[in-house]
């Protein structure tokens, strides 16, 4: 089947294969790029947002700690206001985190953070109440040191644990995305290598095929050139012979031309003679007309003679029948005479005169037999001719 393909078909099939591989490689690359982009988007949208929210929780916790310290130190209401704002922000961020969280571990950590925040807020509320009642500062400091600081540390540890977890998840997601992108890059590179190798193989195959076909074509062209050269040599030889023949023909034509001139002169003379002959022919025509009339008269006479001859033939045929009877009688007479001669010879001298009589009977009468026989033959011939169609 491959041998039946033309070179153009082979080139077209090679290009089609390379184009198909390129399209496949492009599809794979687009798919890998989309996967990498999706993975990165997921890292940015989920993991980074979770880390930011965790940091926001940490900030809100520190913001509340600072506001609690400020109120405890100054007893100004603005710190209470700031402390409520920080808690509101904390609550909102924690709600968002709960909504985003799907794993049990994260939900457990968020529950622990919520419990630690509640304990820490209860401790803060106790210290704030104590400070608002103008209690001794020493008691406030001890409360702060004994309850508030340990609960704050627990709360900070929980938040830090959430931050650390989110950082680890983001790193893992980043690594997975990088691995996916790297795999896509490897697949694309492999396809590119395969396409390159296939294109190289097709190019080598087409090059060899083209080289082989061109070699065969060159050999054909060489043999054809040799044949054309020999044919050209033969044509040159033939042309030379034709030229020689043309020279001979030219010479012959010249001679024919001279002969034709002579013939033309002769023809003129003949034409002159013909004119004279035509004049004589006119006179001859008149004579021929008279001759024709005479011949017609002779024909009528001949027809009349033929009619008479036919009648004469019929009569001769009748006379021939009579003559046959006479001939038969003559033959019998002759036999009788011979037998008489035999008998006379047997009679000796007494029979001599009888022998004479027998001889006279046997001999044909003078002047009678010959005309009779001639007439008999003539009458039979006439009868045969008269009976012919």
């Amino acid at each position: 089947m491959t041998k039946a393909w033309s070179f153009g078909q082979k080139v077209g099939a090679g290009f089609a294969t390379v184009v198909a591989l390129t399209i496949a490689m492009s599809g794979v690359a687009i798919y890998a790029l989309k996967s990498a982009v999706g993975s990165k988007d997921r890292v940015i949208a989920v993991n980074a947002q979770s880390l930011i929210d965790a940091q926001k929780l940490n900030g809100a916790m520190e913001w509340r700690t600072g506001a609690a310290r400020g109120f405890l130190l100054t007893r100004e209401d603005r710190f209470l206001e700031s402390m409520r704002d920080s808690r509101t922000e904390f609550t909102d961020v924690l709600r968002d985190l709960k909504l985003q969280t799907q794993t049990d571990e994260s939900k457990l950590i968020l529950g622990q953070i919520e419990d630690a925040e509640r304990d820490y807020q209860a401790a803060i509320d106790g210290a704030v109440s104590l400070r608002k009642t103008d209690g001794p500062i020493g008691a406030v400091i001890r409360l702060f040191s004994d309850e508030l600081v340990p609960k704050r540390d627990v709360f900070r540890q929980q938040v830090q644990a959430l931050v650390s977890r989110e950082e680890r998840l983001m790193e893992e997601a980043k690594k997975a995305s990088t691995d996916a992108a790297q795999s896509a890059i490897s697949v694309v590179i492999a396809l590119a290598v395969i396409a390159f190798l296939l294109a190289a193989c097709i190019a080598i195959f087409l090059t060899r095929t083209l080289t082989r076909q061109i070699g065969v074509a060159v050999q054909h062209v060489q043999s054809s050139s040799a044949e054309l050269q020999s044919a050209a040599n033969q044509q040159v030889t033939g042309a030379r012979e034709s030229a020689t023949a043309m020279n001979e023909i030219t010479t012959t034509i010249s001679e024919l031309l001279a002969t034709a001139r002579q013939i033309a002169e002769s023809a003129q003379r003949v034409a002159h003679i013909a004119e004279e002959t035509a004049k004589a022919a006119k006179a001859g025509d008149q004579t021929a007309q008279k001759t024709r009339e005479s011949v017609a008269g002779i024909k009528r006479q001949v027809d009349l003679i033929v009619t008479h001859m036919l009648d004469l033939g019929k009569k001769s045929q009748q006379i021939g029948g009579i003559l046959e009877i006479i001939n038969e009688l003559a033959e019998q007479t002759n036999i009788l005479a011979i037998n008489a001669t035999i008998e006379a010879a047997g009679a000796g001298d007494a029979g001599k005169r009888f022998t004479v009589v027998a001889d006279e009977i046997r001999k044909p009468p003078t002047g009678w037999a010959d005309p009779r026989m001639k007439f008999g033959r003539w009458s039979r011939i006439s009868a045969r001719q008269s009976t012919r169609p």
Partner: protein, 180 residues
């Protein structure tokens, strides 16, 4: 009318000439001693028979085939009130038979005539004896031929009838009587 008179005159002239022939004696007719012969043709060859050796010439006489052990015997024919045995002259001369029955017969012998059949009778000859010679060897001589005769430009072999009759009697002696 003139034609009829001429013919009547010519007939009278012929009759007168015929009658005058018998008015002269035989010596006055200038008759030398001539030998009478019958010229005939057998198997395409010219032959002659002496007239004195035969007793008659017959034409167109029917010969009835008769079974016999003699190959030359053709059959029997009724001639002059007698039953005559007929032999083939060509077979007796040594020629083969073509199967046709010859039309001519010469009768030989007076007491018990024998017919010799031959196909073609040519003419009646009267030849001077000087023209008859003894047959020489190398002239196509056959049995029963002892002489040849020159008649005009033709040389004919003269058949000896007695020799033939003797040969027939010899055959009959071996195979039976002549009457048989």
């Amino acid at each position: 009318m003139s034609g009829s008179l001429a013919i009547a005159s010519r007939v009278a002239e012929l009759r007168e000439e015929f009658d005058q022939t018998f008015a002269l004696p035989p010596s006055a007719q200038g008759g030398r001693e001539l030998v009478s012969l019958l010229a005939l043709r057998v198997a395409g060859n010219a032959y002659a028979v002496r007239l004195v050796e035969i007793s008659g010439l017959v034409n167109n006489r029917k010969t009835v085939p008769f079974p016999s052990r003699i190959p030359e015997f053709l059959g029997v024919a009724g001639i002059r009130g007698e039953l005559v045995p007929v032999y083939s002259l060509a077979a007796l001369l040594g020629y083969g038979s073509n199967g046709d029955m010859p039309q001519w017969l010469v009768l030989c012998g007076s007491q018990a005539p024998v017919g010799l059949a031959f196909p073609e009778f040519e003419s009646f000859l009267r030849i001077p004896p000087s023209d008859i010679h003894a047959a020489q060897q190398g002239e196509g001589v056959r049995d029963h031929v002892t002489e040849v005769v020159r008649a005009g430009a033709v040389v004919r072999a003269v058949v000896s009838i007695p020799s033939i009759l003797q040969a027939i009697r010899g055959r009959i002696g071996r195979n039976g009587s002549l009457k048989e």
